[in-house]
């Protein structure tokens, strides 16, 4: 199965944050690249989603849903900035 991109996480992250996060920006703590969530590489499995930096490939985040509750770890993101209105 190929990876997809951050567009695919719009729904789960809407539940977590209450806003559409595809245009939110993340700064990679590995290579310091700054880009929109929609451009990240995302691997989806039965367990959840793993978010990789589109530039350097490090794991930026892991999203899992257990019994309807969403949890997100962001070990590879130094800064998240919401999209300007």
């Amino acid at each position: 199965m190929n990876h997809v991109d951050g567009n695919a996480l719009a729904g789960p992250l809407l539940e977590l944050f209450g806003v559409d996060m595809t245009t939110a920006t993340g700064r990679c703590s590995g290579c310091h690249d700054v880009d929109l969530l929609a451009r990240a590489s995302v691997y989806i499995s039965q367990m959840g989603a793993v978010i990789h930096c589109h530039s350097c490939g490090i794991v930026q985040g892991v999203l899992v849903e257990i019994e309807g509750a969403m949890s997100l770890r962001l070990p590879g993101v130094a800064l998240v900035t919401s999209a300007a209105e």
Binding site: H3, D5, N7, A8, G18, T22
Partner: protein, 247 residues
């Protein structure tokens, strides 16, 4: 468009299937009636969630072919062999059935009419069923023409695999180019994979500074976006949506 979800606002909607029809031999067009739907801009997607009798749930994302303020939402689903959700939607779902849908989603991949006096041209590039959100953009542009030039390059296996054939033919403000990868009914255009040279010949040049939307299987989107940058397009003008799958 405000992206804020107000407290108590519905995220999961109950959708009722109002019509189904064969789109291609492997895909189906599904029309949904969603009373709580807030409307959507062109290019948005939604998530469909199915729940088995034992409580097991599976959700998948599908692009929306319709746009505007209405409560009627159209999707077109290509069957993924061995898939968990698409075989049910393509083969078993019937008019009157109910589905849970979450959306509208995907602020990154939207087209809305520009209020600029000379809006940038727009180049749409689709691989296979990736045409669905791009068709929505072209149809919205036909309805709300903001004066921008629109072009669609659609790469698809054969003429029988074309989604929205009649609707694409009826577009009056979008130039549509088809690239057939497996079999062509045009003797002057033999079938074959899209290449950087074909892409250059069939899309707006970098000098016209188009806004570009690319949607398709991941290998298609990776190849096309790489070629676009090699041809001189600014990466920031390219918006991409990958749905996995195979080339």
């Amino acid at each position: 468009m405000s992206s804020t979800v107000a407290p108590g606002k519905v995220i999961w909607h109950v959708a009722r299937v109002s019509a189904v029809s064969e789109e291609t031999p492997t895909a189906r067009r599904i029309e949904l009636d969603i009373p709580t739907w807030p409307g959507n801009d062109a290019g948005a997607h939604l998530d469909v969630r199915l729940t088995a009798p034992d409580g097991y749930q599976a959700a998948r994302s599908y692009s929306i072919a319709s746009s505007g303020a209405g409560k009627r939402v159209v999707i077109a689903v290509d069957e993924v062999p061995d898939g968990e959700v698409s075989p049910y939607l393509v083969r078993a779902l019937e008019v009157g059935d109910e589905l849970e849908v979450r959306g509208p989603l995907g602020r990154f991949f939207l087209w809305v009419p520009s209020d600029e006096r000379e809006p940038a041209p727009v180049q749409l590039i689709a691989g296979g069923s990736g045409v669905v959100p791009l068709y929505a953009m072209a149809a919205a542009h036909d309805q709300h023409n903001d004066g921008s030039e629109f072009r669609l390059l659609y790469s698809v296996r054969t003429s029988g695999d074309v989604f929205f054939r009649e609707e694409l033919d009826a577009l009056t403000h979008t130039t549509v180019d088809l690239n057939y990868t497996r079999a062509s009914d045009d003797a002057t255009a033999p079938p074959g994979r899209l290449t950087q040279d074909k892409l250059a010949a069939l899309t707006l040049p970098p000098e016209s500074h188009p806004r570009i939307f690319v949607c398709g299987p991941t290998p298609f989107v990776e190849a096309v976006s790489g070629w676009l940058v090699a041809l001189g397009h600014d990466p920031l003008t390219i918006r991409t949506e990958r749905f996995g799958g195979t080339a």
